[in-house]
Amino acid sequence: MAAAIAPSRPLPRAAASPLARRRRRAALMFLLPACLMFGIYVIYPIASSIVLSFYQWDGVGDRSFIGLANYQELFHAPTFYVALKNNVLWLLLLMLAPPIGLAFALYLNQTVRGGRLVKSLFFAPFVLPGVVVGLVFSWFFDPAFGLLKTLLGIGIPVLGDERYATFGVIFAALWPQVPFCMILYLTSLTGINPEAIEAGRMEGAKGWSLLWHVVLPQLRPATFMSVTLTVIAALRSFDLIAVMSGGGPYDSSTVLAYFVYDQAIKYFRFGYSAAIAVVLFLIMGVFIAYQLRRLLRSES
């Protein structure tokens, strides 16, 4: 996502020639629509949510300023810690997607007849709507007749059990995430330097050591992208939870993203909901900053 880019120089002040003025005006015109839309629908809402998190508001009446009370309540709410714990589970378990995706890519990186179709079919779960993936796996986990019951012989109500619900949903989330990482690795594998591989083979490197010492270092960009985008996917998880478990049973499978939605749309606690969103934003901010730093570093 971050290509090498030349540093942008500010225009010298003295160069306010008609030509430079014309170009500056053109730049403004070209940028205006995008900036306007992005400002209204993305930048302003972030600021607005941060402000709102210090208020109590039911979405209809007047707002009343309550300082940090929303945050105090949040840090004493058991559901918050359940959501946080589930977020960590999501992060850790979804991290299986890059290595499994790599394994798939290595398995499929061969030229056989119909190979492209096979790769595309492996990739297909990624293009399915999250809602459909959720429905497919609700069916899969159904204790009366689902695929899991057929495989195991006994029906376990995975999504109806507080102990298993989160794992069930994460399992479903891996299904589209793995092929996404796979495709990143597959593309990277075709761009790999064949001479380095042959040289490694000449030196007697085989199997694991060849993969670890020669191949993986060349796949670094793909690994970086897979991990970053998997982190974001993990923290954003909403669709699957909404469809499969609705955060339940008893909020046991909720995550921060779903908690935010639940408090606002179901309980009309807009200020409180905004406070949860701000906490999620701050957590995600670490990753955003990391990604941005990388982008800006490649600028200079």
Binding site: M1, A2, I5, A6, S8, R9, P10, L11, A26, F30, A34, C35, M37, F38, I40, Y41, V42, I43, Y44, P45, I46, G59, L106, N109, T111, V112, L121, F122, A124, V127, P129, V131, V132, L135, W139, L147, T150, W175, L184, T187, S188, I192, I197, V214, V215, P221, M225, F238, A242, Y261, A264, I265, F270, A274, I276, A277, L280, M284, L292, L295
Partner: protein, 283 residues
């Protein structure tokens, strides 16, 4: 090439590999195949518990007919089209101009602006939820397809701008200078020189944005209420009842909801993958 090409494997291993491919594929897509199988069964058959046997009577058409005409699914499908197509067009148009400006004019704050677009795209969307709902209400657009179109255009513009800016940056700058010397205005330069050259990038982006917007569920939940403007994702999720679920109908509906994204992907595979992996091979 890594791993070792199978042409250099022992014949037995090569055959084993080729045989393993369809089996692996079958296992991987089993959940999907199971759903597709359910879509062809009749309600009576499901009642009797025939989930895995060979379907006795093929009811795919009957199920599809029920889903299409006895439920508002066709209406949802149409809503999805009304939302997705303008959103794709709008996001591409805004980001093409913005990407062009960021790639071509080295004004102060250029990099900062780019960083803002990128960062904005990584934020958890939930932090935008309440204010975007408020804006939508205040514009009088709540529960309309326009509400979703506007939001999707704005949000997708961030990612698309970065993508197109990098693409335009790779074009030979001498071309721009030559056009200017010929007397082209900046607008003509964009329209006549740049736009034709970034065709492939626009196609790749259009497909990506199409699937993102088509598959969206969260914003549809936040900005619509009831049937009027709801897209197909909401419609299909609604088929899963709280107590009983007609799985043959859910399956048929799911196929309908998934079809456009999947078709789009298979039709324009190369573009799709190129768009998705643009960052993975570079940087």
């Amino acid at each position: 090439m890594y791993p070792l090409p199978i042409a250099r494997w022992k014949p037995a291993a090569r055959t084993a590999y080729k045989l393993s491919l369809p089996i692996a594929l079958l296992v991987w897509l089993l959940p999907l195949i199971a759903v597709a199988l359910t879509a062809v069964r009749s309600p009576e058959e499901l009642m009797q518990g025939n989930y895995w046997g060979w379907p006795r009577d093929f009811s795919l058409l009957a199920n599809l007919r029920t889903v299409l005409f006895d439920s508002p699914m066709l209406h949802y499908f149409w809503n999805s089209c009304l939302i997705t197509l303008p959103a794709v067009f709008g996001a591409i148009a805004l980001s093409a101009t913005a990407g062009f400006a960021l790639a071509t004019y080295p004004f102060r704050g250029n990099t900062a602006l780019l960083a803002t677009f990128v960062a904005g795209n990584f934020v958890p969307v939930q932090i935008l939820m309440i204010p975007v709902r408020e804006i939508t209400l205040r514009l009088g657009l709540f529960n309309t397809v326009e509400a979703l179109i506007l939001f999707h255009i704005a949000f997708q513009t961030g990612f698309c701008t970065l993508f197109l800016r990098n693409f335009i940056k790779e074009l030979p700058y001498e071309l721009f200078e030559a056009a200017r010397i010929e007397g082209a205005t900046e607008w003509q330069l964009f329209l006549r020189i740049v736009l034709p050259l970034i065709g492939p990038a626009l196609a790749a982006l259009a497909i990506l944005v199409f699937t993102f917007v088509w598959n969206d569920y969260f914003w549809a939940l936040c900005l619509t209420q009831g049937d009027e403007a709801a897209p197909i994702t909401v419609g299909v999720a609604g088929l899963k009842g709280q107590w009983t679920t007609a799985w043959n109908l859910v399956s048929a509906g799911s196929l309908l909801a998934a079809l456009p994204s999947v078709l789009m992907f298979f039709a324009m595979q190369k573009h799709f993958v190129a768009g998705l992996t643009m960052g993975a091979t570079k940087g």
